[in-house]
Symmetry: C3
Subunit: 367 residues, 3 copies
């Protein structure tokens, strides 16, 4: 069950450079993504209307994609603009096309009702925190199709208590335990986590004053990197702001300061996760990582480290999916622990949105 | 849906040399093909009647195939002729056998009603153009199971307009555009294509007077090879005769002459394509290539080139099949272009034959 | 269709050494096998009750297995003993657990009704012939999941006439032909095979006086090995005792003596085969091989040879399964030969036991 009326990340902008056509299954549909010569982005069903050759095997010609088999061409709106040796082309000759746009280094696609695609509010705004802030360096990446439903990644990012067990050498520290005592609210607190639930999103903030060796190792590593020193041994103040937005977007914004210096320029680490559903059992996992210090080398080193950390999660997500098999991810019986509060709120939001969409559809069909 | 009452290519003769037993799925059935010591060809169900061990794992003993598991033997008629340590063998002990014969370097199998197998008319006659003509050199090949329905290869060979896009460096030239203006008839024409539709076959002839650089590159290469010169730059007269025969046979006969010399000895290139259905989604692709000039080296070089050209098609056919998935190849909605005339005629013939066969069967069952 | 109320081999004891957790599908269920720090063996469903992470990805902590994802711990009885950061744990928080015990170097599991698991009679007793006899050396092994139903291995071991065709260089000799003249009874005979059918087992004994070159090559090799001589050329007296026990246990005990010396200390070769069902189409094939002579080198050499012999069988069993496909192994039509008598008796026992178990279950459900 997908939420159809939402923008989804289909590709990184880089992937479509140089006339490259990307073949990608999104929400169960085979899509060909390309960029015309004038720079317009396009997404069409990856099957020529003539004999079903995948259009992704063809190449970009001017403002069209040309089928590799018999040379028919299709514009970014899907309309067939050229059939070799044929003057008349039926105006009905059209391959299905999908709205696309580029934002924040990603190509986004709309798979739902086309009249609703004008609304860009489903593209997470806080991505601009990463790519538009002065002094930020960021880079994006993507895993090959991850063999796990996208909701398992939502779950994973909603309950960072797992970091203590899965990422002890990087993100795992005592501060993730605050998740188990999450309190509704938005006021700042010294040690703990407060959260606010909105209609399509959840925002939460965790803060730890004077975090020492009990904190995650990565914070001390970053403090040292930013100051170009061997190691950072003192206590630090840790702030993390997290935004989850339905159906599959999570961004983390982490601010580190020497303990007791609330006005110091913070060392920042931001990351953004998007799990675009490929099928019911697989997803495309895109991410962006950004820091506000160091040089390109610092960034690429940290991005590599982070990638390895995410891989630790993917092992688990794919193993969960293998256990769940063909069942619906959420229908499998499960126990819940104290740390699951935010996750359960997130699941509820998503379920509500999907149900609303289905009801709207069935009402529309009745009318 | 297969046409059952037809001879199909099961293997090349070479494959059964030296006592080799070939395991091959044909029209969805697992078959073991072998040649007895006296030279008789045989095809039996590839499962021992005793405990289902594949007979293709065994070996040829005299006029039988011996099961590798417990040593039972079966003649080319499928009858069990020997059970180790057992005198009496039930006359009902029989593995299913299929008519086979060798023609033109291929082993042909009959999977339909055995009483109809006497009729060899479904073995394409024009193959003899390749293997029996004085001065012809030919060689045969086979691809591993191609993951595409055999009808996709029919379609491919019926509409050579694809050559301009898929094989620009070999077979792709302006003359393939004649397909878009195919005219019924059998009279010779200067530039164009005429075709005749028969009950089980389609024959067509395309001719181009004085073809220059706009023609396919391969023709000039062959003219030069045949004359042992570096390159051929003059115009040439091109004639191509194509025969398609249901369910899956296509042969091309190409004649090249210096322009304006209709009585000159032509440079000839012939090829034959057979796509034996393996399953609904895969086929065994056999081909023979022949030329009337050069030596073995010329032939093997050209055969290698041709094989690479066919591989370009296979990429597309397998991609089409992947798009079509488990659906019936012809049931998928598709648009048709001017170049599809012959293809549509061929599909009609095959559909008619398959329907007739099914009706005959259901009538037979009623009686 | 499995026989549920039986002990099955789940692993070799070695596999669980050093805190290793084994993930294995048994009778269609995913199981995690481990050994606690105090040495207790445990088997639980390989899916954490929290979020379905496989427990086999975790590690052993004290008397529990700790989930790798969020650190929950489960005892060998399946009870959840610890949730990080949480004091109260519901007594219902429990992962399904299965009785396990260690016998003869194997870990055995009980997948049926737990109240019946006290009865150890389904663990073959004659395994002690191998591991408990003074002077015996033995070693155990396991193949990766064999893609064949366990009953195909039963069939294989019940009809050793196949050795003449499948293992001519080792076990294949004229004495296996006795299987074709199996006679009920338990009295010793000079050349032949007598068998006794019991409720859950079949025992048979084959003897050949004064076996020469017509016997299996392996016997002469073993006689030479035991005497540390180049080769053994004289005749020998061969005795083989075989026990099959439902559902999947077969042990062979072979005694070789110089011909006419019934009181001589025999050269012995014993092996034990267990095929634990993994799914309807695959099994875990465990075996133990033992000899009463030579040193560790002799044993490991012989074990390696035997492993290669078993692999010859696996090729056939997997090929049979591929032919049978998704059908029920025994429902496929098949002819039977003289050598199949014991096999058919064995199949009957197993069918009867499985039917009884199903009836008992449906009666229990009615009550
Ligand atoms: S399949 Fe695309 S033009 Fe023919
Ligand atoms: S399976 Fe062929 S002889 Fe037994
Ligand atoms: S999945 Fe095992 S503790 Fe969460």
């Amino acid at each position: 069950m997908y939420l159809n009326n939402s923008w989804y990340v289909a590709a990184t902008s880089n992937e479509l450079a140089g006339g490259n056509i990307v073949a990608r299954t999104i929400l169960g549909q085979k899509i060909a993504l390309f960029r015309t010569e004038s720079g317009r982005y396009a997404a069409v069903r990856d099957a020529c209307i003539h004999r079903q050759a995948p259009l992704s095997l063809g190449h970009v010609v001017g403002e069209t994609v040309q089928c590799r088999y018999h040379g028919a061409r299709f514009g970014s709106d899907g309309r067939c603009t050229h059939v070799p040796g044929q003057d008349a082309i039926s105006p009905k000759a059209k391959v299905q096309s999908f709205p696309v746009l580029e934002r924040h280094g990603y190509i986004w696609i709309w798979m739902g009702d086309q009249e609703l695609s004008e609304d860009e509010s489903t593209i997470p705004k806080n991505l601009s925190l990463i790519d538009a802030q002065p002094g930020m360096r960021s880079c994006s990446g993507m895993f090959e199709s991850m063999r796990a439903n996208y909701r398992l990644l939502n779950d994973n990012l909603f309950d960072i208590t797992h970091a203590e067990f899965v990422h002890p050498e990087s993100f795992g520290g005592e501060e993730v335990r605050f998740y188990r005592n999450a309190r509704p609210g938005s006021e700042p607190i010294d040690r703990g986590l407060t959260y606010e639930v909105k209609e399509r999103s959840i925002h939460f903030r965790t803060h730890a004053d004077s975090l020492g060796d009990e904190g995650a190792p990565l914070w001390r590593i970053m403090m040292a990197q930013a100051r170009n020193i061997e190691s950072w041994t003192g206590p630090l103040d840790f702030t993390m702001e997290v935004s989850w937005q339905a159906p599959c977007y999570t961004s983390f914004h982490i601010y580190l300061r020497p303990a007791g210096q609330p006005d110091a320029q913070p060392v920042e680490f931001h990351d953004f996760h998007a799990a675009t559903p490929e099928t019911a059992h697989s997803s495309h996992y895109f991410y962006t990582v950004g820091i506000n210090y160091g040089d390109e080398g610092t960034l690429s080193h940290l991005a590599e480290e982070t990638r390895n950390v995410f891989k630790q999660d993917i092992v688990l997500l794919e193993a969960q999916q293998a256990t769940i098999g063909d069942l619906d991810v959420l229908s499998v019986p499960h126990a819940s622990f104290n740390g699951d509060r935010l996750q359960l709120e997130g699941r509820k939001i998503l379920d509500t949105l999907i149900n609303k969409e289905r009801q709207a559809k069935s009402i529309a069909q009745e009318i």
